[in-house]
């Protein structure tokens, strides 16, 4: 049963804040703008918490709070057997409760941080207007009760990220980064839109609650034997890769660092990028269909992205770029969690990651704030003494993300690793070409999950290594920047450091919510909270295996940190430089992000420009316009010129014209008809041959003669009948002579035809 609750207030408040700031911001002054911005988000947070409280206490565990903001349909079209009714409805169930809390509270913290960070920026009111707009759109995305409403939020956040990345539009590279983000998101949205339309075309409704009841139709094979649900799931997953920066469409996130740091923290760490994971979790019904190819793809891409991003993160020099690749990698982890069926683990990691990743970015912000905007870590060093609070909060975040025991990272990452290890996919009942059924079964059940686990383990190792490399290079050793930078080094103001501390506390505490059962029997409170909404993981692991996995994970983290300590403590050590020299090609490959950007440029961007140019200059401007359109005009005008010069002014030539004209008409009307009539049509039935004169209506008044055996003697003379038949006695080939004559003028024409008689 769904209780109703004024959910529309949650997205509406930030939107109102945005409108006020954008329209009236210039006149309100910085204080008022900040108040309106943070106030609206705080109010939204309170309402959200109240809603989650109501959801938690009353109502059934699997129920949801529903709010139909408009009673009438938003978009509707009926009458052709498959009526489309899309209404602007909002829904809060246990899954979206987690998301709402994360978005609102962490969003609030970042808003407060931003009031300090953006202190002396001229576009102050515009920034907070966009930020509130983003919050509104994100809340619509999370609270949407059907795919179209989610899609509205989906595109809304895409636009806000475009505006915020390109916030300092004065430089071209920021604007280009914003545009790149929006277009890559748009490619993702292309997939999401198609998935939505395909789903609608099959079951006629798009509400999450109703998708479950139509699973029967979705299992029917749509194409190549795969069920429709698989295709829809994959299409939606394309949308998610676009939004959550997974392998094919991840190139926009590192460039998105061009935006202000609070933006990176809010959008590109905590909220927007996680929308993909949320949507996959929300539509888990589609992914759980029998041949779990969709889930295998999700897990595969997640793992690959995790490792790729982690390896690239190792060699980067820019502070925020390292964190960006870290986010991509952690998102990979979440997708593996969701992909392998451990939905709760995925969402749990999403929640914990929001805390420490937001903290990391804010820390980076305060460092760059102190360093006067300098982002290259090789020019920093030894900042620990100058920024104590930032340093110690950074220390906690690094521990958390590396996955050290008591902190959040350990529990959520471990849950995902366990889920990966225990995953069991079913691909198909019959073999694929050379592979027998058993081998396929064996592969999907054992080899593939283990492969994913090992990729994740390697990614975890790299994560620990590059985070602590960052920590040691920035906060330990001696300062490598310029003198006046060192002179300016100062701790950030309280409205920046307080959120850091809160997030640090969160990074520690957040993990305890989901302690795995094996350690503490009902410790997995978070899993229990999500159990009624999301399906449980495929099957349980034995205790010994779980302990073993935890131990392995912990060891990997420790090894990562230790090696980072050896190589980078007190600045980049000599050993690190020599390693970079020896592995030069590998170093370059990683530093240039596996050359994926250049690949896309060569494969997509440049050909697009060239075909555009070709289509415009060659096809449009020349072929269609010049040749087809103006060609005709030129031809007609040439004809006109020719006709005009016929008239040279001499009277006698005109008179000749009159005579020639009369003669011409005489010729046309007298000799032409017989000629057309003579072109007869011959039809043959065995020995009977019939002859039918041509020329249609213009053969009135003509006479015909025919000589069947061309023996010089006209068999039929001057008959008026235009159809003549003849019965040939014997076999053989005969030549028929046919003549049509106009008796009035004596003009005639003859045709002869050879005919074979059996």
């Amino acid at each position: 049963m769904d209780a109703s609750f004024p959910l529309h207030l949650i997205p509406l408040l930030p939107l109102l804040g945005a409108i006020i700031n954008l329209l009236l911001g210039r006149r309100l002054g910085k204080g008022a703008v900040a108040l309106v911005a943070c106030g609206s988000v705080a109010a939204a947070a309170l309402v959200a918490t109240r809603a989650v409280w109501v959801l938690g206490t009353e109502g059934l565990p699997s129920g949801a709070l529903v709010d139909r903001f408009f009673q009438a349909d938003w978009i509707f079209s009926s009458g052709d057997g498959l009526d489309l009714h899309v209404s602007a409805g909002l829904m809060l169930d246990r899954l979206s409760a987690v998301m709402v809390l994360v978005v609102t509270w962490i969003g609030l913290l970042i808003h407060i941080y931003a009031t300090g960070y953006m202190e002396h920026d001229p576009g102050y009111h515009r920034f907070f207007g966009y930020l509130n707009l983003f919050m509104g759109a994100m809340l619509i995305l999370v609270l949407g009760d059907s795919l179209p409403v989610t899609f509205v939020g989906w595109e809304g956040v895409g636009v806000c990220s475009y505006l915020l990345i390109g916030f300092w539009y004065a430089e071209d590279k920021n604007a280009t980064a914003g545009r790149k983000a929006f277009i890559v998101n748009r490619v993702g949205d292309f997939g999401f839109l198609l998935g939505m339309c395909l789903l609608f075309s099959l079951i006629g409704t798009l509400k999450y609650s109703e998708i479950g009841s139509h699973m029967q139709t979705l299992r029917q094979p749509l194409w190549l034997g795969w069920p429709a649900a698989c295709f829809i799931a994959l299409l939606i997953f394309v949308g998610c890769t676009g939004k959550s920066a997974q392998i094919p469409l991840h190139i926009w996130l590192p460039d998105a660092m061009a935006g202000p740091t609070p933006v990176s923290a809010l959008i590109h760490a905590a909220t927007m990028v996680t929308a993909g994971v949320y949507v996959v979790a929300r539509t888990h019904v589609l992914f759980d269909v029998f041949p779990t190819s969709a889930k295998m793809v999700v897990a595969g891409i997640g793992a690959a992205t995790a490792l790729m991003a982690a390896t690239v993160g190792i060699v980067q020099r820019d502070f925020k770029r390292i964190l960006a690749y870290s986010t991509v990698s952690q998102l990979g982890f979440m997708f593996v969690g969701v992909g392998t069926g451990a939905y709760a683990a995925g969402i749990f990691h999403l929640m914990t990651h929001a805390f420490f990743k937001a903290g990391l970015f804010l820390g980076a912000g305060s460092v760059m704030h102190a360093m006067g905007g300098e982002g290259d870590i090789t020019k920093m060093g030894g900042l620990g003494k100058h920024l104590p609070v930032t340093r110690w909060t950074f220390f906690i975040y690094c521990l958390a993300i590396a996955g050290i025991f008591p902190l959040a990272g350990f529990f959520s990452k471990d849950a995902i690793l366990a889920g990966a290890w225990a995953a069991r996919f079913q691909l198909a009942r019959q073999g694929f070409g050379p592979f027998s059924v058993e081998w396929v079964q064996h592969f999907t059940q054992d080899i593939y999950p283990k492969l994913i686990w090992s990729l994740l383990a390697a990614a975890a190792l790299c994560t620990a290594f590059y985070m602590w490399r960052l920590y040691f290079v920035v906060f330990t050793g001696r300062f490598r920047g310029t003198a006046d930078q060192e002179h300016h080094l100062h701790e950030s103001p309280p409205e920046m450091t307080v959120p850091l501390m809160v997030l640090a506390a969160g990074s520690v505490v957040a993990g305890w919510v989901g302690v795995p059962a094996v350690m503490y029997h009902e410790g997995d409170w978070f899993g229990a909270w999500l159990a009624p909404v999301l399906p449980p993981p495929a099957q349980e692991l034995s205790h010994s295996v779980e302990w073993g996995l935890m131990a392995v994970a912990l060891c990997l983290s420790v090894i990562g940190i230790a090696s980072a300590y050896l190589l980078y403590y007190g600045g980049i050590s000599e050993a690190a430089r020599r390693a970079a020299q020896i592995l030069r090609p590998l170093y370059l490959l990683l530093y240039n992000k596996y050359y994926i950007d250049e690949l896309y440029d060569v494969v997509f961007v440049r050909p697009l420009k060239r075909t555009a140019w070709f289509l415009w200059y060659v096809v449009d401007a020349f072929f269609i316009d010049k040749v087809l359109v103006q060609g005709w005009a030129w031809m007609v005008s040439m004809l006109g010129r020719a006709v005009r010069y016929l008239q040279n002014g001499e009277v006698q030539r005109y008179l000749v014209g009159v005579l020639v004209g009369t003669a011409g008409i005489l010729w046309v009307t007298t000799t032409l008809p017989p000629r057309r009539a003579a072109a007869f049509r011959l039809s043959q039935q065995g020995r009977r041959v019939t002859l039918e004169a041509g020329g249609g209506s213009s053969r009135v008044g003509l006479v015909y003669r025919v000589d069947w055996e061309s023996d010089g003697k006209w068999d039929e003379v001057d008959t008026r009948w235009s159809t003549l038949t003849h019965e040939y006695p014997g076999q053989g080939t005969y030549k028929i002579l046919f003549e049509a004559r106009d008796p009035r003028w004596g003009t005639s024409s003859t045709r002869r035809r050879v005919v074979h008689i059996e």
């Binding site: 009369t662 007298t670 053969r699 106009d742 009035r744």
Partner: protein, 522 residues
């Protein structure tokens, strides 16, 4: 055998016009004139001759109103005879016939002549060729037209054509000061005479083969004509003669030169009235004389007149439009456009042969619409083209006229749109009405499509003039002092024509019903 007075009453318009012509001649004879030598007109081309009579300025101002009065009276007579002409009466021993078709077409000719005459004095005074005979010739030529249109006998057909043409030859050459006018007259006369000889020879042959020159009789004798080749040759010569008059290709070569050379009001008169009368004669001949149910091959046979006119129509439309495309001189452009319109009208005549009586009303409506449009257009050309020395004919010189003479330019645009066949005008409804009749017989679909393509091509050169008038900026400054003498009369003429064109376009109902009622004798 008595002379029936009734006949006189029934040919009242014809008689009135002739009498009016003579009266004007006499009036002209008694008005004052001054002999002058060459030195007076310095601007004349060197080779012009010594001395000739030049009418005193202002001595002829009363002639135009008188002419218009006579024309109005003639029109009144036409309207008066209209109810009586419900069923045809044969006059003068079956030489002429009084029927609604003849009356309507003569009404059209008279209206066109009246509008043309209204606009004439301004132009004539400007070009200093003010003389009375102009109006006399106009009326006499008009009398010829009325006779041609209501001819029931080949001989009266010939006489009508001759009277009309002779008047036209002299009018064309009446602009003594311009060498072009005399050259045009010479060409027009020579070809006209040559073709009227052919016409006469045709009549002789037909008389020979059918034994009579009366159209109704000819039709009766079609089944048992004495010798077919003679008859068909005679028919061809008759068709050739009339095709020359309506300037259908290949008999069109005279038209551009003559229309360009003749003074503009005369060109307007020739384009509108002469062409309408010629078509009237052609319809009389083809429908009245050469179509009979029992002998279809004379009309729709391979050598029948429908085939001949089909070819003429296709040629005229195509060549007329193509030649007009690159034309620079406005009068020559409108000449070629009138050849093209002869082609469209021939589609109607062909439809008369193929579809029968359904095509008669559209043809008459199109004739009315076309005549009014062309006479209006030429009146505007006369008004706008009046430069101090040379007439402003090349289209470049029309640049920017939209600014300087907005009213005239707007009227000209309306006329051009009507010629091009754009909706709210008479031209469009005419074409629609004509194609509606033609399309009832699938064999004409090809001709209609050709007409459609041609009217598309024609839109280009009509809009070229509009483009020049409105979109281009004028090159040389208008000589301020010189305000064209086109006062009230010419403006009234243009206004009348414009109102008729627009009225026929927006409320074609009444014109269509009148055209429907205009039955053909026999």
């Amino acid at each position: 055998m008595s002379f029936d007075l009734e006949d006189l009453r029934r040919t009242a318009p014809l008689l009135l016009l002739s009498a009016a012509g003579l009266v004007l001649l006499l009036l002209e004879a008694f008005s004052r004139v001054r002999l002058i030598g060459r030195h007076y007109h310095k601007k004349l081309p060197p080779e012009t001759s010594e001395a000739y009579a030049v009418p005193l300025a202002g001595s002829r101002t009363y002639l135009m109103p008188l002419t218009v009065l006579f024309l109005a009276a003639a029109l009144g007579l036409v309207v008066w005879l209209w109810p009586e002409a419900a069923e045809p009466h044969y006059l003068y021993r079956r030489m002429l016939v009084l029927d609604r078709f003849g009356l309507l077409l003569s009404g059209v000719c008279i209206t066109a002549a009246a509008i043309g005459a209204l606009g004439a004095p301004a132009y004539l005074r400007e070009q200093r060729m003010e003389f009375g005979e102009y109006y006399a010739l106009l009326l006499l030529s008009l009398a010829g037209m009325v006779m041609l249109v209501s001819a029931a006998d080949l001989v009266s057909l010939l006489l009508g054509v001759e009277t009309m043409s002779l008047g036209a030859y002299v009018l064309t050459g009446s602009w003594r000061r311009s060498p072009r006018s005399s050259e045009a007259a010479m060409k027009y006369f020579l070809m006209g005479a040559f073709v009227s000889a052919i016409l006469l020879y045709g009549i002789a042959l037909i008389y020979g083969s059918t034994g009579t020159t009366e159209l109704a009789e000819v039709r009766a004798h079609l089944s048992e004509m004495r010798s077919a080749p003679v008859f068909y040759l005679g028919m061809f010569f008759l068709l050739a003669g009339l095709a020359f008059k309506i300037a259908a290709v290949p008999f069109h070569m005279w038209a551009p030169d003559v229309y360009e050379g003749a003074p503009t009001p005369v060109t307007g008169f020739m384009m509108a009235a002469v062409k309408t009368a010629a078509f009237g004669g052609l319809i009389r001949l083809c429908v009245g004389g050469l179509t009979s149910g029992r002998v279809p091959e004379v009309s729709t046979g391979p050598t029948g007149w429908v085939n001949v006119l089909f070819v003429l129509s296709a040629l005229s439309m195509t060549l007329g439009n193509l030649a007009a495309l690159r034309q620079e001189n406005i009068k020559r452009l409108l000449a070629y456009s009138s050849i093209a319109h002869a082609g469209y009208l021939l589609v109607g005549v062909v439809a008369l042969g193929v579809v029968g009586d359904a095509a008669r009303a559209p043809l008459i409506y199109y004739l009315l619409g076309y005549a009014v449009t062309v006479v209006g257009a030429m009146a505007v050309v006369a008004a706008l083209a009046m430069g101090p020395g040379q007439e402003r004919l090349p289209i470049e010189q029309w640049a920017g006229l939209g600014q300087r003479h907005p009213a005239m330019a707007l009227a000209m645009t309306l006329f051009l749109l009507s010629l091009g066949g754009f909706p709210p005008t008479a031209g469009f409804f005419g074409k629609f009405y004509l194609f509606r009749a033609a399309l009832q017989n699938p064999s004409l679909l090809l001709l209609v499509l050709l007409a459609i393509v041609n009217s598309l091509v024609s839109v280009y050169y009509y809009l070229r003039i509009v483009t020049a008038m409105y979109f281009r900026t004028p090159q040389e400054e208008e000589v301020e002092g010189h305000v064209p003498a086109a006062q009230g009369a010419l403006r009234l003429a243009v206004l009348l024509a414009a109102l008729l064109v627009l009225g026929l376009g927006v409320w074609p109902g009444w014109a269509a019903t009148v055209a429907e009622a205009a039955k053909l004798a026999g």
